[in-house]
């Protein structure tokens, strides 16, 4: 028996820590575990992947998890991101856990294989408990509960151990334990269909990100906007044009050039590429920019 879990989060959300907490909690249960994250060249906000393998036997596999039994999607906007490829390789009857307030607007048509979907609003729970959208312990708790092999006490111990190692304050760790407990008790285990302990070596297919003639894109100046970093956002800044005084403060301070000015001097936000740093929201003198929690899906 070997269970393969893949976490998809954004830089700063805690995907790496989540996989560590899950690994440690299974280790406390006496299982063999392995966990590892992947970062690209991108930084905070960019898609991050982390893997956990759990087994009652020795684990001989290494490297990426291409065919997970459980996929934990820590941010629904990742479903939209071609860079994250969250649903790749999901096993037949595999489980996708989605951090989202609702699943009503999500259809399964874009995923070929048959999978089961579980959802819970981790971000909301984290905002209530911690005051910020950091969901490492919440995601770990969700995964630990779903695979059904971890006791609540082991999870708590794992959260404490891992967060202590990062150097968080006792108060923060305590809040994370409470958050973990809340998520843990809100979910039910799902039966994972995993059976064999080893399988054929799989090689991920290599695909060109850019369509058409690559050369054209390379020589075009300032072509990075095709990478659509708008999917990095957790909160979306929205301009209230009634309140806006066209002071252009937001424009001056936007690090990404994701804001342009209209004829009348009021800003237009390029949502395809705004990473959601929210400097414009914070600095807007008349408070004409408000925030919306962003939940999009395919």
């Amino acid at each position: 028996m070997i269970i393969r879990v893949r976490f998809h989060g954004r830089g700063g959300q805690g995907a790496k820590t989540a996989s560590r907490i899950l690994g440690t909690s299974c280790f406390i249960e006496g299982l063999n575990v392995q966990d590892s994250p992947v970062y690209g060249a991108e930084r905070r906000g960019a898609p991050v992947t982390a893997f956990t393998r759990i087994s009652d036997e020795q684990i001989l596999e290494r490297g990426y998890v291409f065919d997970p039994d459980l996929i934990v999607v820590m941010d629904p906007t990742l479903l939209d991101s071609p860079a994250a490829r969250v649903t790749d390789g999901i096993r037949k009857k595999g489980v996708i856990f989605l951090n989202s307030p609702s699943v009503t607007h999500i259809t399964k048509q874009n995923i070929a294989s048959d999978f089961r979907l579980v959802n819970f609003d981790l971000t909301n729970a984290a905002m209530e408990m911690l005051g910020k959208p950091i969901i490492s312990s919440a995601s770990a708790a969700a995964a630990a509960r779903l695979i059904g092999m971890v006791k609540e006490s082991s999870l708590e111990q794992a959260i404490e151990t891992e967060l202590e190692e990062i150097g968080l304050s006792e108060e923060t760790i305590e809040k994370n334990v409470l958050l973990g407990r809340k998520v843990f008790s809100s979910l039910e285990p799902v039966e994972l269909m995993t059976e064999e302990s080893s399988r054929e070596l799989k090689i991920a297919p290599l695909e060109l990100i850019l369509e058409g003639n690559g050369l054209e894109d390379i020589t075009a100046a300032g072509n990075s906007s095709v990478s659509r970093t708008g999917s990095w956002r957790i909160f979306k800044p929205v301009v209230d044009y009634e309140k806006c005084t066209a002071c252009t403060v937001c424009y001056a301070y936007c690090p990404e050039s994701a804001l342009t000015l209209r004829q009348d001097g009021k800003p237009v936000i390029d949502y395809d590429n705004c990473k959601g740093c929210l400097i414009c929201y914070r600095e807007c003198p008349p408070k004409a920019i408000t925030l919306e929690r962003e939940v999009v899906a395919f």
């Binding site: 830089g11 700063g12 690209g40 060249a41 991108e42 930084r43 905070r44 906000g45 960019a46 910020k132 150097g167 304050s169 850019l210 690559g214 894109d217 390379i218 100046a221 300032g222 072509n223 990075s224 906007s225 095709v226 990478s227 659509r228 970093t229 990095w232 002071c247 252009t248 403060v249 424009y251 001056a252 301070y253 936007c254 690090p255 990404e256 050039s257 994701a258 342009t260 000015l261 001097g265 390029d270 590429n273 705004c274 990473k275 959601g276 740093c277 929210l278 400097i279 929201y281 914070r282 600095e283």
Partner: protein, 321 residues
């Protein structure tokens, strides 16, 4: 008499962007904002010579945000790269192979690691040769790209990946920052300035002013780093502004060696206000408040401004410690 500047209010920020969005840097990156503002003043005809550092990952080949030109060099050799480009341009113009209008501006862009540490000798060489170039250092006060390790620009009291607060070293980093401004000034270049994007008008004015000089021009821009300093990305401008208002980051320039402070806070705000908002200084506040370290930082700031006020003849209200 001073030339009238084009830039008087935030509304004068040029409306052409030479960086397109979609780069790979962290959300809320102060370094990127500095590069963006700098580019706006210089216009499109620029060759960026980029030493390894955070700004390297602005480019995620083949996706490039720059609408100008970019040469990537190793950590230590950006000024040498700049020399090569400058010479090539000069020769081509002299031979009539490219028109005078294609006289690109050569700008070295480095982080503090390259500027203060590993690239210092090649920089010194370039200034010595009186190379006509701009040097923009986005100073986030550590090796931010590789996980926030200490650099010689890291201030006293900051914890970094390599100088964490430990029982034997409870203050975190104990070394004082190198004074890059003065190191450059000792080489006698025509123009040196410190910048903060939070004082954007001052920023633009200085880049404009420096472009009137031939020879090496240095700009050190404070670059708020949400991941390394540990604050919410939306606070970048606030943090950079607090650094100026507490007197920790003086905004100054040196024209032909003569130093003048361009933004003088009439009354300094206590450094504590700045330190308390960043995770890299949290060990100075919890579990016990390290009054000794905070006081040392405040005293350093006070004595700096006392000296400046004497030399430049203005009054400033210091913070009592």
């Amino acid at each position: 008499m001073e030339l009238q500047s084009k830039y008087r209010t935030l509304r004068d920020v040029p409306q052409l962007d030479y960086l397109s969005p979609g780069g790979s840097l962290c959300a809320g990156c102060g370094g990127l904002l500095a590069v963006r503002l700098f580019h706006k003043v210089l216009g499109k005809n620029v060759v960026w010579v980029n030493a390894a550092g955070c700004m390297t990952i602005m480019v995620n080949y083949p996706l490039v945000p720059l609408k100008s030109n970019w040469l990537y060099t190793a950590f230590a050799s950006a000024p040498a790269g700049a020399q090569g480009i400058r010479d090539a341009l000069d020769i081509l113009i002299k031979k009539g192979k490219i028109p005078e209008s294609e006289d690109l501006k050569v700008v070295v862009v480095t982080g503090d690691g390259a500027a203060y540490d590993i690239g210092l000798q090649s920089t010194s060489g370039a200034i010595y040769r009186n190379l006509d170039f701009y040097y923009l250092c986005y100073d986030n006060q550590a090796y931010g790209n590789t996980g926030f390790q200490v650099s010689s620009a890291t201030p006293v009291g900051s914890s970094t990946a390599t100088t964490p607060a430990t029982p034997s070293q409870p203050a975190g980093n104990i070394q004082k920052r190198k004074d890059l401004f003065e190191i450059w000034r000792a080489h006698n270049p025509p123009y040196i300035a410190t910048l903060s994007s939070s004082y954007a008008v001052d920023f633009l004015k200085k880049v404009e002013k420096g472009s009137g000089f031939r020879g090496p021009k240095l700009y050190i821009s404070l670059a708020g780093c949400p991941t390394g300093w540990g604050y919410d990305p939306r606070e970048t401008i606030r943090e950079e502004k607090l650094a100026v208002d507490t007197g920790i980051w003086p905004l100054k320039e040196a024209v032909e060696g003569k130093v003048r402070h361009t933004v003088v806070p009439r009354a300094l705000r206590p450094v504590e206000e700045y330190l308390a908002t960043q995770a890299r200084y949290q060990h100075l506040f919890t579990p016990t408040k390290r009054i000794d370290v905070i006081r040392q930082i405040q005293n350093d700031v006070n004595s700096y401004w006392e000296g400046v006020a004497d030399r430049e003849g203005f009054d400033i209200k210091l913070v009592e410690t």
